[in-house]
Assembly symmetry: C2
């Protein structure tokens, strides 16, 4: 976005080099003309509103920081209501506020959980309250001692048929709920996952709507201990979120607060499976993980935009006869590190758009009782969540290093971006655990090859196993790699061969589960190869037009301009649209509280005595 405060564009020369239409690319990046306009409008709205200022976050201590987040969330809601924003506009506005808040979990997990797992009656009761924010909810699954293995959760929900209630209890310290965002200080309600117990018998883990705090005075209800779990990675960053700890001491809730879409408990304590299939729950996971892939492209593009612009501003070495030094973006090592990340930002955006289509497709099929594509869609979103988040986390840090020393300053924006982004590798499924799930479907597919069952969706290529196992790489000279069909086939052959090799090794084990454990490192490798293939194939599909002949370098700045990010959103002095980096870095420094006084606190007590003392005793 054209932010030219001072009127001078220090990157003007770079912008003139572009060999493509930046405005058209902006629309491509946004997804459509309509989406572009919504995003553009919301981004400007946020950027121009002083309440949404965020460049002081890293200097605030926890309480002030958190209070600021509450203020922004309230203000966002106020603007949404005042301006009568549509759901699409509201979600874009919240996105550009760019600060993790309790509202993320309310809209992103609490409401979807009720939608996905609640009966129609439950939805009618709870959703209007939640939509109007008359209650605020969070998603309480993970416990202090239990995360990835949801079946290991210890919290119990015991049916009391006398009173027609469930008794929610935390039997041990490790059963304390731990991590849920919004729980620590704000949520009035939670969807709590607990082990269903009836007459001493266990019936698996299910979700329950539990009120945590009084709607009158916000105090925790009797039997509930709740608080914040403390500081997380970075300053600012995710510390705006009140991830919480929660313990239940025999807290009673009415029976109808168990989410009963797939399993019902009757008044008599009988367990009845509904005709809604369990797999429906996968639908929600596909949804959430698809948004995570989309977010990966947003975080990555942000980091790449900063590093690319700064690399064009920064000069180092190579000056001849007193001329200017070389822009570091002109060094081949810098390009080699940076440009693949830039390409990946675009590739992940394309994959995110496609996953969004996949989610809608799966949803339609589910409504028509067609479950055939679900396992593959589920595996594919799990794998792509893992691949794109791991890659993006590493890439943000690489972008920071690409900015040299100045990337280490908070005013570069990159430290906070890294710190706020990395948990995406862990939440919604640890990335390694997810890859092992992908490996299961790959092994199953390989084992069924030749059985007549045709693999579907992103695994369809395995149906061409015979060809791919034998195909010889057609590359003779370097330029042959520019042929998309060749690249695709190479990725397909590689992925298939890795899966087939694993399957062969697996078949040596009499106990397949043992084999799976033993070979898990190789299986993870095969999953990664498969997921890389998906990214490559979706990217190639989209690249109908020729790639501009002059390569990336002349287009670099234009390619990041096409993200259309405001300086407010980027939050980086190094990534400023106008390239006016140095005066702004200098200005920013003086804002540090240490510069409030010339002589720092503690000088008189702890430094002056050193300087003034005559040391006679030291051996030094």
């Amino acid at each position: 976005m054209e932010d030219l405060e001072g009127g001078v564009d220090f990157l003007a020369d770079e912008r003139k080099k572009a060999k493509f239409d930046v405005e058209a690319m902006k629309i491509f990046w946004a997804g459509s003309q309509h989406k572009f306009q919504v995003a553009d409008r919301m981004a400007r709205l946020v950027a121009s509103d002083p309440v949404f200022k965020k460049d002081d976050r890293v200097r605030l201590e926890r309480k002030e920081l958190f209070k600021g987040t509450l203020r922004k969330a309230a203000h966002a809601w106020k603007r949404i209501v005042e301006l009568r924003l549509s759901e699409e506009e509201a979600s874009q506005l919240r996105f550009f506020v760019d600060e993790p808040a309790y509202t993320d979990l309310h809209w992103g997990m609490f409401i979807p959980a009720i939608k996905g797992q609640g009966t129609e009656e439950q939805q009618r009761k709870w959703l209007p309250l939640a939509y109007r924010m008359q209650i605020i909810g969070c998603y309480a699954q993970t416990e202090l001692g239990h995360g990835s293995n949801v079946q290991g959760l210890e919290t119990t929900a015991t049916f009391d048929s006398e009173t027609d209630e469930f008794v929610i209890n935390s039997p041990t310290l490790t059963s304390s709920k731990w991590w849920p965002g919004g729980l620590g200080k704000i949520s009035t309600h939670a969807v709590v996952y607990a082990r269903l117990m009836i007459d001493g018998k266990e019936h698996g883990v299910h979700g329950f709507i539990v009120q945590l705090r009084s709607l009158d005075d916000h105090l925790p209800l009797p039997g509930i201990t709740v608080g914040d779990i403390g500081m997380k990675f970075g300053s600012g960053a995710y510390n705006t979120m009140d991830n919480g700890v929660l313990q239940f001491d025999h807290v009673r809730i009415p029976r109808d607060q168990m989410l009963m879409r797939v399993l019902q408990v009757t008044r008599e304590g009988k367990v009845v499976q509904s005709d809604v299939p369990r797999q429906l729950i996968y639908g929600t996971m596909v949804y959430v993980r698809q948004t995570i892939v989309y977010d990966a492209s947003r975080a990555l593009s942000k980091a790449v935009c900063i590093a690319t612009r700064y690399s064009a501003v920064r000069r180092q070495f190579g000056s001849q006869n007193g001329g200017r030094e070389t822009q570091v973006i002109d060094y081949k090592t810098q390009q080699n590190r940076l440009f693949p990340l830039l390409a990946s930002a675009y590739a992940f955006r394309i994959v995110g758009d496609w996953l969004n289509w996949l989610y809608r497709d799966v949803t339609e099929r589910l409504q028509a009782n067609d479950f055939s594509t679900l396992p593959e869609a589920h595996a594919c979103t799990a794998g792509l969540k893992s691949l794109t988040t791991s890659f993006t986390a590493d890439a943000i840090e690489e972008c920071r290093k690409l900015c040299g020393g100045h990337g280490y300053l908070c005013s570069s924006g990159l430290p906070e971006l890294f710190a706020v982004y990395v948990p995406a590798c862990t939440y919604e499924g640890d990335n390694v655990v997810l890859l092992l799930q992908v490996a299961r479907i790959l092994m199953k597919t390989v084992s069924q090859l030749g059985s007549g069952k045709q693999p579907v969706g992103t695994i369809a290529y395995m149906g061409r196993a015979e060809n791919l196992m034998q195909s010889q790489c057609s590359v003779k000279k370097a330029e042959d790699w520019l042929n998309p069909a060749t690249v695709l086939e190479v990725f397909e052959a590689r992925s298939l061969r890795m899966s087939v090799a694993c399957a062969k090794n697996l078949s040596q084990f009499s106990n397949p589960e043992e084999g799976f454990l033993e070979l898990s490192a190789d299986l993870v490798g095969a999953s990664v190869a498969h997921c890389q293939l998906i990214v490559v194939s979706k990217f190639i599909e989209k690249l109908q037009q020729d790639i501009p002949g002059e390569g990336v370098r002349p287009n670099a700045i234009a390619l990041v301009d096409a993200f259309n990010y405001t300086d407010h959103f980027l939050g980086s002095v190094l990534g400023r649209y106008d390239g006016n980096v140095y005066p702004k870095l200098y200005e920013e420094a003086w804002k540090d509280p240490l510069n409030d006084s010339v002589i720092p606190d503690g000088f008189h007590e702890y430094v002056r005595p050193l300087l003034k003392r005559q040391v006679r005793t030291s051996r030094l």
Copy 2:
């Protein structure tokens, strides 16, 4: 170190599995019985002193944090003097305080710069003042607009023959000194690097001792603008350091404050080269970078210790019939990610010890006017600095991910360790720039093969080029990889072949500098291969004894116990010696300021109105 507060050792079973003598390994890790005892004593001294408490750092705002650092630095100095500690003991004590402070630059850069670049007279004048801390110094080289390219610095030191003074000046904004640690708030003096100007003629960049602040009232002297550059990555972390900004407005210093060991300016303004060779300066760089390699092994071992212990405590999946779940350290993927990092911690320690020997060897030779090994020693420390710091930074983050969600909490210690460590990839030479320097000596060596000039030191293997270019890999089956000689030869052949390939491509260019720029990405690859070979060869040299037959798993906990780190030093709830993770995580959470009150600040203004309002206007 045996920290068993509660008396229970939750890792006792793991410790029983060890197949080697942990006490002997502790001495190996420390370097000698003597070094072990010093380190052990200093670590306990620091850990038991409440002034050195550091687990609240992440919760402090900048001013309080910085004040705490001043307090610790003063207290450390007090203890050093009171206990009449030797230089070795003092440096260990400072290390275990484990908090970046202005004293690091005073002892680690200011004093060595004067020692390395000052004349004997200058040393006699300045060093006693510095040793007694009657002055405090920093190292002011980098500028806002100039870092890697030292020859590009803009600060000027102009000789005024009338007054026999140098006039230090910052002609532009980008010439502001920027980054020096200790500069922002504390240093009274600095070694300032500036362009020497005499009668309008330039004589390159040299160091000058400049007083910055009054020794009476600590106020900046006339013509000096100085302050802190603001928040850096992470909370706590490097924010204990006052990295600073500094501008000179024609500040005058006596002529004898130019460091004149290699170049002198006479009273008449004549420039005289001394008989001390310029290369001496490389000696200091070899010293500083060697300590950085050693520090890499310390940071890496710390992260690995935390992740290994927690992986033995954490259980996830695999419970049968209600039994306990599997320790995550038993998953092959976890081992595959963790154990190579554990091995690398040991390898880097061995390399660090060897570099220390190399530094002493080079120093002795320099004193005897033997410069023959210097270029190779210089390249080798530059390359190993780059390799070990890049690897360690990535490895710390991998260790954090290996701890799942809890690794994201500051109480895990890993976020702060990462944030405080990563600048090592940038300071003392950007890691890519350093690898390009290594590439130069590799290319030179290859070009001289067959000329009769035998390559020395770590490049000696290139003398066997003919063999290595033709040798066939002798590996037939997997176990053959356990033969150290095979591994070594493979690494040698790989490194040499990469260098030779680059040299061949380079020779195609009529302008070699152009070729070097064009091929720089490949050259970096060749440098990395060469540095990896050095690590592998030093590791193999040291591994005289057989590797214990049962592999790493049973020895894992013992291998990290051998680092002999106190819980204070580790600063991690997940890495506690006793493995009592969960109750301590729980305790730690409640210390967050957000938990000071049940209702958070801001609730009444910004949340209650949402909950209480009847929204009629929203379209949602």
